[in-house]
Amino acid sequence: MMRKALLIFRLAFMERTAYRVNFMLQVAGGILSILIVVFLWLAVYRSSGRSELGGYTLAEMITYLLGAGLINSFLLTTAENPETSQAIQDGTLSNLLLQPFNPYWVWLLRDLAGKLFLGVIGLAGYAIVAFLLREELVLAPDPLRLVFFGAALTVAVLLQFLTFESLSLLAFWVENTSGFRFTMRVIMEVAGGAIIPLSFFPALVQKIFALLPFPYLVYFPMRIYLNKIELAEVLPDLIRAAVWAAGLAGLNAVLWKRGLRRYTAMGD
């Protein structure tokens, strides 16, 4: 079982590397966008004449932007789980169902492989930017925080997959799910804190965002890294994120089971 899983993971990873140039260019584009945003914030701090805005010093802000950009590059940018929805729509799911491995796990593994690939490339790209801005960065906090940071990222990866997968599974019922997924991605990017720390938003907006699982994707890990959350509060929040993930996993299970019953293997 484990060997099969590893094989699926490896194949998906290799598939990704086949289109290297395109991904490199995509990363280059991502770096450009992040540099533009860094310039913007340098100007904002300059014109404000203050050393701290929204509770963030300039160095913390730049670290946040780079960290959020890196997380964004493998968590949100290209991962909308289109495969599930496509397989259901065009009937290729039938083939997958005949194989001795549950398609749902295949999709999860392929998603993880995609994220790993994008993460590696993203890391290479951001390493360059981080080197250029090395004077302005907040470096690694104590090891315990790094461990929690890693744990939060792991939950974020699952949370992100499960959110999009529940939309993708709707393909059993509706013809086209890309509209749902696109809208979700747009909201997720902002409400997750990938653009700026959520503390910059008006209080009401912050309250609304806090009701959603998205702040656990980027804002929460970055707050752990940047010392913006007490260590004692990290664990309860981590549990809350895990509860969200478990809830979504339950929803996925129901959708998958009910959907399969409806599935008619329509295709061309």
Binding site: S33, G54, I196
Partner: protein, 263 residues
């Protein structure tokens, strides 16, 4: 000319029919796009909760810049952007360009306008509302001449973008793909969303004179605000004219090398 106009209307109709095939999807995509714009606006608002000016620019002026950028960006994506950036390379690769260049119309017309994006056309309407709101907040404090210049410079911005997109797309006559390059350019044009005052002097110079992304929204906005120097106006028009000339020459060169091979 009239024939082309009729043809354009027909392409719009076909585009609408194609994209409305999945109706819920159509409206979801539109609401997604509108939400994205509103959230970006929220982002600017968040910035201006902390400062009252970005360089020389007030919030109302940044609003105008933002609306102008999206106005130009939408017109581009409704019409030529995806056709040239993604559709044309695919046609070249598959050899399907044959059926387009044998039509009794200018090949560039078909290459740049075949798929009209009606989804973006509908998302474009709230963007006009945003522009109206920005003008309202600025108390309509501009003269007719300034408004006219604004319109002219928006056309100029579109011509400038058309030239660059065409140059990138034409590369695919030799390489059969340029989608990656087109994407980098997409990311780069976002510079136009922000006032160039955010850049240090070198980069400001760079984005005004070397790679004049300032033409997209900064120059038209400045014209409306009455803050554009005659020199920059002339430069904007001349740069676009020159680039357009180069792009069209490059396109004809590319078309000549087209061999209609398919895989």
């Amino acid at each position: 000319m009239q024939r082309y106009l009729r043809l354009f209307m027909l392409l719009c109709k076909i585009g609408l029919m194609r994209q409305m095939a999945y109706r819920p999807h159509f409206f979801l995509m539109i609401s997604g796009k509108v939400i994205r714009m509103l959230l970006l606006l929220l982002f600017f608002q968040a910035v201006f909760l902390k400062v009252d000016r970005l360089g020389q620019w007030t919030f109302d002026q940044v609003l105008l810049l933002f609306a102008t950028f999206h106005l130009v960006d939408y017109i581009m994506s409704i019409t030529f952007q995806r056709n040239l950036s993604y559709h044309l390379p695919a046609l070249i690769q598959s050899g399907n360009l044959d059926s387009r260049i044998t039509l009794p119309i200018h090949p560039l017309f078909m290459a740049s306008l075949e798929n009209i994006d009606m989804m973006d056309f509908i998302s474009f309407i709230p963007c006009l509302g945003l522009l109206g709101y920005a003008l309202h907040r600025l108390n309509y404090a501009f003269t007719w001449v300034q408004a006219l210049m604004y319109g002219l410079l928006i056309v100029n911005a579109l011509a400038f973008l058309f030239a660059i997109v065409l140059i990138i797309a034409t590369v695919s006559f030799w390489t059969t793909q340029s989608a990656g390059l087109a994407r980098v350019f997409d990311d780069l044009t976002r510079v136009g969303r922000y006032p160039l005052d955010i850049f240090e002097s070198f980069w400001k110079f760079f984005f005004i004179y070397i790679l004049p992304l300032a033409l997209i929204s900064q120059v038209p906005s400045q014209a409306l605000l009455g803050a554009l120097s005659p020199g920059l106006l002339l430069y904007a028009l001349a740069a676009t004219g020159l680039l357009l000339f180069i792009a069209l020459r490059f396109w004809s060169m590319g078309l000549k090398t087209y061999t209609s091979t398919s895989s």
